[in-house]
Amino acid sequence: MNPIQEKAHSISLMVANRPGVLVRISLVFSRRGYNIDSLVVSPTLDPNFSRMNIVARGNPTILEQIIKQLEKLVDVVQAKDHTNMNVVEKELALIKVKCSPEQRTEMLQLCDHFKAVTVDMTETSMIIQITGNTDKIDAMKSLSQKFEIIEYIRTGKVIMLRGEDKT
């Protein structure tokens, strides 16, 4: 990881389910040279709307502007930066490692520690599924490096405000 990388911001959007809405949103980011780390689109209880969770990095003043410009899009109902707010943040990762039968016990111990589960196993490999916040997944990934990681994928972060209020 780049040591001077800027802080990651968690943004949550409520958008009308319309073709093109994703492009309009990404254009707002790309115009300001903002990098999107992850993006999750999900249906909501109301089929007319989708929820988007975006993690992006960059200058916070520019981000404030980006949020306003997102809000301005006709199809965007709400745009909020949830960084530093009281939210539940979770993501899920799948990590595929090389793992011989001799190595299994150690790997399973590691899983146990992180409350990760194995979702696939062969003579030579294992897929581990882990959920949690970003730091936890980063830690698991880094420790799995002891075994050879074949591939790895993350869903990106989903956010929900704690308590009774809507996100």
Binding site: A16, G20, R24, L27, Q65, K68, Q69, K72, V74
Partner: protein, 576 residues
């Protein structure tokens, strides 16, 4: 159920047309082609006025000019593929200046989308960044709702261009949806009044100001806030400066008027910006043309920023108070809260500057563009509509035409689109109800970008006075090369210009020649008296004149230059 729907089944094109009528559209600027034929077929026996342009860019600027003149939504209609791409400059121009237009682009049939069909173009994909909003219509039955929404979005809030992409089968297919006023825009908000506490804060700031300055932008024009701006200026006793697009909102003749500020603004307006203790922007967005070097702009002044667009808050600079709302409504909120300020000293100072540093131009030498504009202003007593192109002539039009009324100076401000002036004057002429002459003020360069619309002006016998201010150069670029690039005139010589009088005559438009300063009044009067359609006045001007005052791009206002410097200047750090 609507009567029209019960009588006979309508196809998508007919429904579209009916929707346009329901939105109050009286005129469409367009250009046909294969995919658009169903719409043009519906237009064939309708009473809608259709103006056939000679290029789709022209049609879009016409819709824009019409919108600027009337405040209504302008409509352009073109075919798919190249017809659509030709509108992009016009759409972007409208976006940059917040102009309400609806652009209808025809499209290949829906089953053909994505297959590189003939003249298929991902029009909505290519224009996402240039529109306020857009639609690709997939079902004929969606048409009534989408058209309703498109006009609503185009004209409300901060206005802007809306594009509707219409596949041919959607136009030709049966539409059984009824016309209704239903819209589905859950994410669309229109600010009206500002937060009361913010208005109170603004009033408090104003009360303590001894050197206030009002900065009027296009937002004040769009919201029709002329009366409120004047009331505020007079009540506070505050001088008023204006952006290029705000000119006319506050009368130029008013004692408190300082004219335009910024790069080619007046000395006194820019001095006032430097010296004021409070600046109140009413519908301007602190464009780099007006702020110069941002860090130095109004460094010691309090800033109140009124804008209908919440995304303007802090975009360029952080105001002390941001008022989000419609200029007219917010000024009405504010007016009762403010007293006359203790600003008499300041107003006196500013007025001394006004006398000491008037806008001038050299009287010797050949014909000056400044003189042409100034004479036009005098002869019409400022009662004319000017559609101006982009370049030196544009800045002189802003400086030397006395605009006392809103919606009389039309400029492509944000985009600076050469080729805008002439077609937009055609749109303005169709929308003109003032009884004043519409004048196109174009340079020899920009005029040649869209001069094919001479046919359009001629056919409709539009009473436009077409001034071609010919310096045989891309003058504004030449000026920069003159001042900052050692006179290395690179690709600015317009050798090969046509004889504009003969050109006009080829379209059946009479042409007048103006070469000598002494003839200016007579020739312009002749043009103004002509009342049988368009007339072109070819003004052969000084080739190498420069626009002053000038603040080099990116430089602080204190770097203002008022005459050609003897020594070489640094290259500007700001853009264009």
């Amino acid at each position: 159920m609507n009567e029209l729907n019960t009588k006979k089944t309508l196809n998508g094109a007919e429904v579209t047309l009916e929707c346009l009528k329901r939105e109050g559209v009286e005129i469409i600027f367009g250009y046909p082609g294969g995919s658009a034929i169903p719409l043009f077929d519906a237009l064939y026996d309708s009473n809608m006025k259709v103006v056939l342009s000679r290029h789709e860019q022209g049609a879009t600027h016409m819709a824009d000019g019409y919108a600027r003149q009337t405040g209504k939504v302008g409509v352009a209609l073109v075919t798919s593929g190249p017809g659509a791409t030709n509108t992009f400059t016009g759409i972007y121009t409208a976006l940059m200046d917040s102009i309400p237009i609806v652009v209808l682009t025809a499209q290949t049939t829906t089953p053909n989308l994505g297959k590189d069909a003939f003249q298929e173009c991902d029009t909505s994909g290519m224009t996402f960044a240039a529109v306020k909003h857009s639609y690709l219509v997939k079902k004929s039955n969606d048409l009534p709702r989408i058209l309703k929404e498109a006009f609503h979005v185009a004209r409300t809030g901060r206005p802007g261009p809306v594009l509707i992409d219409l596949p041919k089968d959607v136009l030709a297919g049966v539409c059984s949806a009824s016309f209704s006023d239903e819209m589905d825009l859950p994410g669309y908000k229109i600010p009206t009044y500002a937060d009361l506490s913010a208005v109170e804060q603004a009033a408090e700031l104003l009360k303590t100001s001894k050197k206030p300055l009002l900065l009027v932008g296009h937002g004040a024009m769009i919201s029709n806030a002329s009366r409120q701006v004047k009331e505020l200026a007079e009540k506070l006793n505050a001088p008023v400066t204006s952006t290029l697009l705000g000119l006319g909102v506050f009368p130029a003749d008013h004692d408190l008027s300082l004219g335009m500020l910024g790069m080619h603004g007046t000395v006194y307006a820019n001095k006032a910006v430097l010296d004021c203790d409070l600046i109140f922007s009413i519908g301007s967005r602190f464009d780099d043309r007006i702020t110069g070097k941002l860090e130095e702009f109004c460094k010691n002044a309090k800033i109140i920023h009124l804008d209908i667009d919440p995304a303007e808050q802090g975009k360029v600079l952080e105001p002390d108070v941001f008022l989000c709302g419609d200029a007219k409504l917010v000024l009405e909120q504010l007016l009762p809260m403010v007293p006359r300020l203790d600003s008499a000293e300041w107003v006196k100072t500013v007025q001394t500057w006004k006398k000491r540093y008037p806008l001038t131009y050299p009287k010797q030498g050949g014909l000056r563009m400044q003189h042409v504009i100034h004479t036009l202003s005098e002869l019409t007593k400022g009662k004319a509509i000017l559609n101006v192109d982009v370049g030196q002539h544009q800045m002189w039009a802003a400086q030397f035409f006395n605009a006392n009324y809103p919606r009389q100076l039309h400029n492509s401000g944000g985009a600076g689109t050469m080729g805008f002036g002439f077609p937009s004057s055609i749109g303005a002429s169709f929308g003109n109800t003032t009884g004043w002459p519409v004048c196109c003020i174009a340079g020899d360069g920009g005029f040649q970008m869209t001069l094919s619309e001479l046919a359009t002006a001629a056919i409709h016998k539009l009473p436009i006075k077409i001034f071609v201010l010919d310096n045989k150069y891309l003058g504004m670029v030449r000026q920069w090369q003159d001042m900052f690039y050692d006179k290395r005139y690179s690709s600015v010589d317009l050798v090969g210009n046509p004889d504009f009088v003969k050109l006009a005559e080829a379209y059946g438009i009479p042409g007048l020649r103006l070469k000598r300063s002494a003839d200016t009044e007579r020739i312009i009067q002749k043009a103004l008296d002509y009342n049988d359609g368009p007339i072109l006045i070819h003004c052969e001007c000084e080739k190498e004149d420069n626009v002053f005052p000038m603040i080099p791009a990116g430089a602080p206002i204190t770097s203002m230059i008022t005459e050609m410097p003897k020594t070489k200047l640094e290259k500007p750090t700001g853009s264009t």
